[in-house]
């Protein structure tokens, strides 16, 4: 236990240097702004801001990217409350009661409560992370290549199986991502795979470019449709951004209930902020003494999802940092960025580079305070960003996407790959193929193949290594469960309905 506190102390020493406080603020504020803009979420934010982190060094990069992630959770609610348009997926549930509050003239209370709920959710989740991270990392040190292969398979399958209706599409996306990661010169045998004799493909396709293509180019192309909508009518004059005692009395139990829920859901692979927020909302609605007020401006219906989605963004960092396995699109992007900076997230990160791991954790405490100030007293200034026309903003994101690509590889050839994946992004959207499994597959693909082949080398080619130990059997069980669960849950639900009828 003392070890944890001394490490955390080290982390604060890193995070409290002026330059790192600046990166925390920068990441958090940029994340808030990107989170506010409809259509753009934390994954796009991290992808587009990537080149800025190149010169920061690993600690600064990590702190900034984490700031973008939880900053987006703060920011997403602004558009939900004021425009009834979620700034990102995780803020959908915030529309349900946030916008009715605005219609009733209570926008100030809604903005204030969502900031406070986000703050509390994030802070409690940070404390939980301090105590959970090291034990998880230590446990995973015992994993061999076979266990790692299966663990990645579990994370991928759980993400692909998120939606029952689109399960096949999810897996198709996942395998496509894995396929892309096999392109290039194979390091172990020196054979060129799937390069079509194109010299530039020998080094493989940099997955960050695919991410920028799908999340930045693709998203902007898609939003050309909405760009011509008459500009939103938004409330721009606000009173004091605060809430009443009565509001607080109704909200705090909801916040405390939703935080652990969000943290847990966030740490699971596949499920993310969106699901955490929706579950927290439904949970509060079921527990409430006046469920009829939900959807008409009940403040606890706003506080619950906001606490949950911030807690989930912290939870989602745990598998990425401790196991090196991302459980969501955003953490996959972060992992890709860290690999490029020469860091290997995973169990060894905490022992080999404690200043990076703990510096980031400590920065999240500081960042939450900064964002509380940014999102409460300064909220009325910040939401002016929402009145900058999308017609100006979105073309600039295209510009940022190209400069980001160039900064990563210094090669114009990758521009064509970028454009191609922008087009693929549009196709994925039309064909309703979820993007998260594809991105996840692409990021963990080469690590997974390496682990797979190492395992087979250890066992002299016998596949028994993948089902020979307790851990592997548990992991296989979890994988099957995560694929079967959506169907089982559906069956239970319809059985219940049949009984009621």
């Amino acid at each position: 236990m003392n070890e944890v506190f001394s490490q955390l102390f080290l982390g604060f020493q890193v995070a409290l240097t002026p330059i790192n406080i600046m990166w925390t603020t920068l990441g958090g504020v940029l994340g808030t702004i990107i989170g506010m803009l409809p259509g753009l979420g934390p994954a796009t934010g991290v992808a587009v801001l990537l080149p800025l982190t190149f010169k920061m060094g690993p600690v600064g990069a990590m702190i900034t990217m984490a700031g973008v992630y939880y900053g987006a959770m703060f920011g997403g609610s602004r558009a939900s409350i004021l425009l009834n348009t979620p700034g990102d997926g995780a803020a959908i549930a915030t529309c349900f009661d946030g916008y009715p509050m605005t219609q009733k003239g209570r926008a100030e209370a809604a903005l204030a409560m969502s900031a406070v709920a986000s703050f509390i959710g994030g802070m409690i989740a940070n404390v939980a992370m301090v105590f959970v991270a090291v034990p998880v990392a230590k446990f995973s040190l015992k994993f061999g290549p076979a266990e790692y292969t299966l663990l990645m398979l579990f994370a991928l399958a759980a993400t692909a199986a998120m939606s029952k209706e689109k399960i096949l599409q999810g897996f198709i996306g996942m395998v496509f991502g894995l396929m892309i990661s096999t392109i290039g010169l194979d390091g172990l045998t020196g054979v060129n795979r799937f390069t079509f004799n194109i010299l530039e493909l020998m080094g493989g396709i940099d997955f960050l470019i695919i991410i920028i293509g799908i999340y930045a180019l693709g998203e902007v192309f898609k939003s050309f449709k909405s760009v011509h909508d008459p500009s939103y009518k938004m409330q721009t004059k606000f009173g004091k951004i605060t809430f009443t005692k009565e509001d607080w009395k109704r909200s705090w139990p909801a916040i405390l209930r939703s935080t652990p829920l969000g943290f847990f859901i966030g740490a699971l692979p596949g499920a993310g902020g969106t699901m955490a927020a929706l579950m927290a909302y439904n949970n509060e609605k079921n527990l409430s003494k006046h469920p009829e007020e939900f959807g008409k401006g009940a403040i606890e219906g706003l506080a619950a999802p906001e606490a949950a989605n911030n807690a989930s963004s912290v939870g989602a960092l745990i598998p990425m940092m401790t196991l090196g396995i991302p459980g969501s699109g955003t953490t996959a992007v972060m992992l890709g960025a860290l690999l490029m900076l020469g860091l290997q997230p995973g169990p060894l990160l905490f022992t080999k580079q404690p200043e990076v791991a703990w510096g980031m954790i400590a920065s999240m405490f500081i960042g939450n305070f900064i964002l509380l100030i940014v999102n409460m007293p300064m909220a009325s200034i910040l939401v002016r960003v929402l009145s900058v026309p999308a017609k100006v903003l979105y073309p600039l994101i295209l510009g940022l996407a190209f400069i980001g690509t160039y900064a990563i590889t210094n090669s114009v050839v990758d521009f064509f790959i970028l454009i191609a994946f922008g087009l693929i992004g549009i196709f994925l959207d039309k064909a309703k193929i979820p993007t998260a499994p594809l991105i996840l597959g692409g990021i963990v693909g080469s690590t997974m193949e390496t682990s797979f082949r190492q395992a087979l080398m250890l066992s002299d080619g016998s596949p028994k290594i993948f089902y020979g130990s307790t851990v592997t059997i548990v992991l296989i069980g979890l994988t099957i469960f995560s694929i079967a669960w959506p169907f089982v849950a559906g069956a239970i639900k319809s059985a219940k309905r049949a009984r009621k009828a």
Binding site: G190, F194, P395, L396
Partner: protein
Amino acid sequence: MTWNMITGLVATLIGAAYGWSAWNLPRATFGNPTGHIVYPAILGALMTLLGLALVVKELLSKSPSKAKNSPKFGALTRHGKEIAIAIAASLCYALLFEPLGYVIATILYLGAVLFLVNGRVKVARTVIVAVAFSVGVYVLFSVLLGIQLPRMPILDI
């Protein structure tokens, strides 16, 4: 032809082509001769199966809203046209990036895309935004971050 049908067929095709070319990769001269083949071969087979499953599922389904879930061919919508123009502009940008240097190429590209979505109103804003962004990013990257961007021809700045 629904979107799901297209997805299924494309996935089957990609899976088969990928799996087939994986199988025909040259055997390694050192190490495990098929070490680099087993994993992609599994992926190819899996993709083929997933694609076929989606095709079969789509053939069996009797959903009445098929028309809604199918792509429409023929004349592009306004949205489709704008995307096509934006992509064409992006391709031109990629081709002109090095010959024209970062600043000029970016001013032209952003100007084109901004003009595309804003039209003839507020041309002044379009020009100011395009120039300010290009110069600003150039300064930020080459001066502050030390990332070399293609320089302007002749003037060489």
